[in-house]
Symmetry: C2
């Protein structure tokens, strides 16, 4: 009897099936390659090269002046921040809060996970355009949902017909991200309106991720589908302080959601998190005092970096296609090679000292793809990195 039990125990002490179904996070893998290659330049992780405005630190100092601030605060976020966000959403995004609620989250990822748990049950489907943001696909697997992928066009723009055809009786949510991670595509107002109307007609939720709202270049304009009249009952919008205000490590973002989902989302945050970190909420409140000018000024500098990156990349356009997207701080490259994106990415780090994220992480198995991020470094280092990339692509693709 005892031996029987012993043998069972070894099969039982395993991770769950749902976790086995989740892809390994790519950022730490690329991080390992980087650590093993001293002097390598990372065009990998999506993060900006600046920190928060001084107002954030002042707010943290003020936080310490009231000992009550160390105690638990409301699940949905502190009232002062929720009020400031309501004003911001109305003034900057044209999103009216009638019929909606703002919930402060520990970053936009948690906002997505909240949305997923609150609108889906196991086996339900969500629609993700490809390339997708890897954490959203991972979240779906953890929540036992099915991801239905739909293609985007050559310029990484939405194919609304493909989305419509992908909707089934089990579809609960269509997910869009604009400016897009990982492609940098900015979806025009018209396309986002169409998706939002389609979702209304078909009775599915429309989740729109606007974490990169301030990062648009040339003529591209950011649009919030939640500003559309008639969107309040089925639109969930996600925002973040990580990129815009340089508060990545502080884990603070927010979501706007239909009021009928508010109590359920409070249950989720209460259970998983209790509340977003209150010190980070104070920092965010301080950052909002600096205002959107802080973000736009920095985005304008990134426009210059983007310009230099594009000039470099045009020199290899024969072996590496590229859509010159106008948002976030990403380009999604399509090198002309039969190498897998993981192999190519690893060789670029080890042989040429430059790191990008392999396209496989974003659901692009073939042809080969790479995400290039130009947000994290000073402009000189980015250009040096892109120089290595150009050299590397020439060397590897010629040989392959």
């Amino acid at each position: 009897m005892r031996t029987e039990r012993k043998s069972r125990e070894h099969s039982a002490w395993n991770e769950s099936e749902r976790l086995k179904a989740v892809q390994a996070p790519v950022i730490p893998v690329v991080g390992d390659w980087l650590r093993q290659t001293p002097g390598a330049i990372s065009l990998g992780q999506g993060v900006v090269n600046y920190g928060p405005p001084p107002e954030a630190r002042e707010a943290v100092n003020k936080f310490f002046s009231d000992p009550e601030n160390h105690k638990y605060k409301p699940v949905q976020g502190i009232p002062e921040l929720r009020e400031a966000l309501a004003k911001k959403l109305s003034a900057e995004n044209g999103i009216p809060l009638g019929g909606r609620e703002v919930v402060v989250t520990a970053g936009a990822n948690m906002g997505f996970y909240n949305a997923l748990l609150v609108v889906t049950d196991p086996e339900d489907e969500i629609i993700l355009p490809v390339p997708f943001y890897f954490n959203y696909e991972m979240a779906a697997a953890m929540a036992n949902c099915r991801v239905v992928t739909v293609p985007t066009d050559e310029s990484h723009q939405l194919d609304v017909d493909a989305i419509e055809k992908a909707i089934t009786a089990r579809t609960k949510m269509v997910v869009t991200i604009s400016p897009n991670n990982p492609t940098g595509a900015v979806y025009p107002e018209e396309a986002l309106r169409e998706v939002n109307e389609l979702c209304a007609e078909r009775g599915v939720y429309h989740l729109h991720d606007e974490a990169y709202e301030y990062f648009t270049y040339s003529d591209a304009k950011h649009f919030s589908p939640a500003s559309r009249p008639g969107s309040e009952a089925h639109t969930i919008a996600l925002f973040s302080f990580s990129k815009s205000y340089g508060l990545a490590s502080w884990r603070v973002g927010y979501m706007v959601l239909p009021r009928h989902l508010f109590e359920a989302v409070r249950k989720i945050q209460d259970t998983i998190l209790i509340s977003p970190p209150v010190v980070s909420q104070h920092a965010a409140l301080g950052a909002l005092k600096a205002g959107p000018g802080y973000c736009r000024e920095r985005a304008a500098k990134l426009a210059g970096v983007r310009h230099r990156v594009l000039s470099e990349l045009r020199s290899v356009e024969a072996i590496c296609r590229l859509s010159e997207t106008e948002g976030a701080f990403y380009f999604f490259l399509r090198p002309e090679t039969r190498l897998s994106s993981a192999t190519l990415a690893e060789r670029l780090v080890r042989e040429h000292g430059v790191a990008l994220i392999p396209g496989s992480a974003f659901g692009v198995e073939a042809p080969c793809g790479l995400r290039l991020s130009y947000g994290a470094l000073d402009s000189g280092t980015v250009v040096e990195g892109v120089g290595r990339l150009v050299e590397g692509l020439r060397a590897i693709i010629r040989k392959s």
Copy 2:
């Protein structure tokens, strides 16, 4: 066609079945009663009446001196904190880290959710002794698991036979909390060893929550079952800075887990959170410099408050039973009434100006139960609150 779609949309825009199955968080409900009753005293929420040591603030000041600190950091926590925690676990808890990993979490609740996702699939079972901590039951519903409850004895001590009988082929985890929330019971070393050995024999994980490790009184001694040789492959231990170091709103805790679950837990945190808030990790690192003396001194003061609360409550022992448990800062009262715990709790706030948490939130439907927390207020206010409670119980129970 259009009208058909319209009618479907209204049924589709609903929260998920899994969220409908989750109980409403009780703390905000009691918070509403409190706000509507000016001058009421809260013996409700589990939180301490002190903030972090000055070392935490110094660490936050230092955090600001390196702009890199605003960028993303490792999913599992910053290396300095993980190293300091490994030392603490070895020195204070006798937990060796061979075969294990430490993961910093955004509070112990998130540690529990990580554990749940990583060891269970939908329809799997976890065993919770009753009264249970409400957020753990809520987490199970969100993760589509089944909660199997087992009774505890009159002193709120574990019934290991009941746990053994409750184990089925679908059982993945037995959960224990000591010192206990909501009862204050401290489980003796022998009982925790028995549960841990039972889990080893039966091939299930043993999750032990030690968030209240420093809060023991009289002869009660804290014991960490993860210190047991042979526990490393199936024991998950949860810890928190919220109570011990007065960092509740900062959302920082940690978990010790078998190494074979480490990569899977990294996937979860990467997806839901990216990393615990880095500023909070620095605060925690600072707090550790103050050391456990900081926590023990404050627990010693709470011992005095506990003593005064007990003297008051003994005056109503005929109408309100109570086990004089020796840990955390809770007592679980059993008033002799047929009123539901929610009704009794609401009347105590509205008619007598004192708030406790109804037992129904902890899985105790009948007989009536109430959790009393004596950690959050200065000793005078606690005694005043308990005075109101005694009066209220006399008035309500006599009339009912």
